[in-house]
Amino acid sequence: MSDLYLSHIRNWFWKSPPAEWVMRGARDLLIGTLKQGPIPKHVAFEMDGNRRFAKNHKIETIEGHHLGFEALARVLEICYKCGVKVVTVYAFSIENFNRPRGEVKGLMALAKVKLEQLVQHGELLDRYGACIRVLGERDLIPDDVLPFVDRAVEMTKHNKDAVLNICFPYTSRAEMTSAIKATIDEFTSPSPPSKAPFSQTRITQKIRSNYSKRTEPLGSIRESSPDASAKSDLDDSMSSTTALDPESPKSEPAATKPRKFPNPENITVDTINGHTYTAECPPLDIFIRTSNVTRLSDFMLWQCHENTHIFFLSCFWPEFDLWHFVPVLLEWQWRQKKLLEKESSRK
């Protein structure tokens, strides 16, 4: 029998209902097994290789993208069943606008159709607590796709159990720039008057009266108290963070500096982190890139710079399945165990 017949028979066997039932059982068993160990909370996928896959299998490029979407659905099912809380995918880069116009239009049409379908299943999404967020530069989304994006995000905003972050269109440098600009905006808007119920004037008066109770003859302190109270009235309007700061300007007359800005020394890594698009998500645990390209290509640069295990796989994205994900997860769990052992041995 020739090879062709053998492969046909093999295909027929694997697609038959009993074989598929066995495979499904095996998959569920495997996922249930891996759930016994540590599970990452946030996984990022860079879905690369659709076009090369299409070329290798002699189909249209846009067909490759459609198969890529099916692979995404598979991966989301696996991740949800494993218990991963947040999945971030790189759907479209700002650099991808340079691709041929037909392909860009096809991708936008794909996005529009899928988002439109998603919007019709609001109740199902609510039942599973699934939330869709679109991260990226909103002003670059074409006008016909924008209402669907907004609708999908609005509809699922309140769910918190399973989050899908679609990065569309996204570049990590643009994200970091916008985070820095948002931080600068936060620190250059005049700080609101202190809402703390504590008053500096009262505190200073009380301390001085304590002094005068203890040491009656010292009348010099009492003379200087009117000046102090005038100064501290201005102090009251400072923001609460600098309320106890000895370096803060004390007796500036109101005319020369009408606005008081928060001190830029208070900017920390957490401040900038709070302005990134993934601020509410847990830190990134696993980063997977397919198609044997070993670059980050402007995806999640800020998030994966520490404590993120980066995997570069050689399969193409439309082929990505549980059998590629399981070794990744196993290695991550094994590495976590080793790190825990190292931590405990160090202590």
Binding site: I180, E265, T268, I272, R295, E306
Partner: protein, 319 residues
């Protein structure tokens, strides 16, 4: 195959017909086969009763899963051990057979066949044991070795990332040690010049010729440097020296590449897995990252493999 062939066919037909074949409820029914039980939010007493009824089954299932988990992990550890043992032995054999004998000619011959070399190579090194014992000496040794390879291969810039930045405190000793190693390799009269840079410290140069540029980078040059830049920018906007809208990615890029480091072309990690350990996030945008699983320590063969992989890489930039 996660989705059955029948369902996949139905889905694809529906898609081809512009989603007119299936109504939303039918699509939901299709998806429902694959979704697990929705997480229950109410805990009513009746549910608790049914749970205790099937408690035995649940317990047995949990035990089976735990056993399987231990079994799968045992097999995996065994596989990893065998693989790393095999790789360690084979890499030792290869490194003995193809040793460079501390001579630049061998290295130049090895890289002569490569169509492309990186202009800026970056490596991540780890300080062992928290710096105790001879860890610092080992680190300086590794830096000197890699610097010698780069000088021999003709790579003009090398940046060394080490998380704690301990080398920044011993810059003159590092410079001396690397120059010593280069002298051993190239001979006293042909030794290339070495310029050692680190952020916030004056540069140390040996001659004023063009030679190898060695940049020391640490965790402070990553996110912390960006925080410092944000502080400076905030002060400038507060004092109204610049407008907030003028700050673009170009401005930030310019500042960071001038002050910290430019984008490396190739990043080599000598750990068995890719962990950036706090490497500066801004510059690593299009850098090829090379890492060999089960690798231990700094070795010349890994360096050569990384250069080979870099030569084969294609840069499409999104197109």
């Amino acid at each position: 195959m996660s989705f059955t062939t029948k369902d996949t066919k139905l889905y694809r037909e529906d898609e081809k017909s512009g989603h007119r074949r299936l109504r939303p409820e039918q699509r939901e029914a299709l998806a429902k086969n694959y979704l697990p039980e929705p997480p229950s939010r109410e805990r009513s007493s009746s549910r608790a009763k049914t749970q205790s009824h099937f408690g035995v089954r649940r317990l047995v299932k949990a035990q089976i899963y735990t056993l399987l988990y231990l079994f799968v992990h045992a097999i995996f550890s065994l596989y990893i051990r065998i693989r790393s043992g095999y790789r360690a032995v084979s890499s030792r054999v290869v490194s003995i057979l193809r040793h460079h004998y501390n001579s630049p000619e061998y290295i130049a011959r090895d890289v002569a066949t490569l169509p492309r070399l990186p202009n800026h190579l970056s490596i991540i090194l780890t300080l062992e044991n928290g710096g105790k014992g001879d860890a610092l000496e080992k680190l300086v040794n590794e830096v000197s070795e890699v610097a010698a390879w780069c000088a021999a291969a003709g790579i003009p810039t090398l940046s060394v990332y080490e998380k704690t930045g301990v080398l920044k405190r011993y810059m003159s000793q590092t410079h001396r040690s690397v120059c010593q190693r280069l002298k051993v390799w190239f001979g006293k009269h042909q030794v290339p010049s070495l310029a050692l840079f680190a952020r916030g410290a004056p540069a140390i140069r040996s001659h004023h010729r063009q030679g190898l540029d060695l940049i020391l980078v640490s965790e402070d040059d990553g996110r912390e440097a960006m925080v410092d830049l944000t502080r400076v920018l905030t002060e400038m906007v507060q004092k109204e020296k610049i407008a907030a809208d003028d700050i673009t990615a170009d401005v930030i890029d310019n500042e960071l590449s001038e002050a910290v480091m430019r984008e490396p072309d190739l990043l080599i990690s000598f750990e068995p897995y890719v962990d950036l350990q706090g490497y500066p996030p801004w510059v690593i945008r299009l850098t090829e990252i090379y890492c060999a699983p089960d690798n231990q320590g700094v070795g010349y063969q890994l360096f050569l493999q990384a250069l080979r992989k870099f030569a084969q890489a294609t840069f499409k930039l999104g197109k």
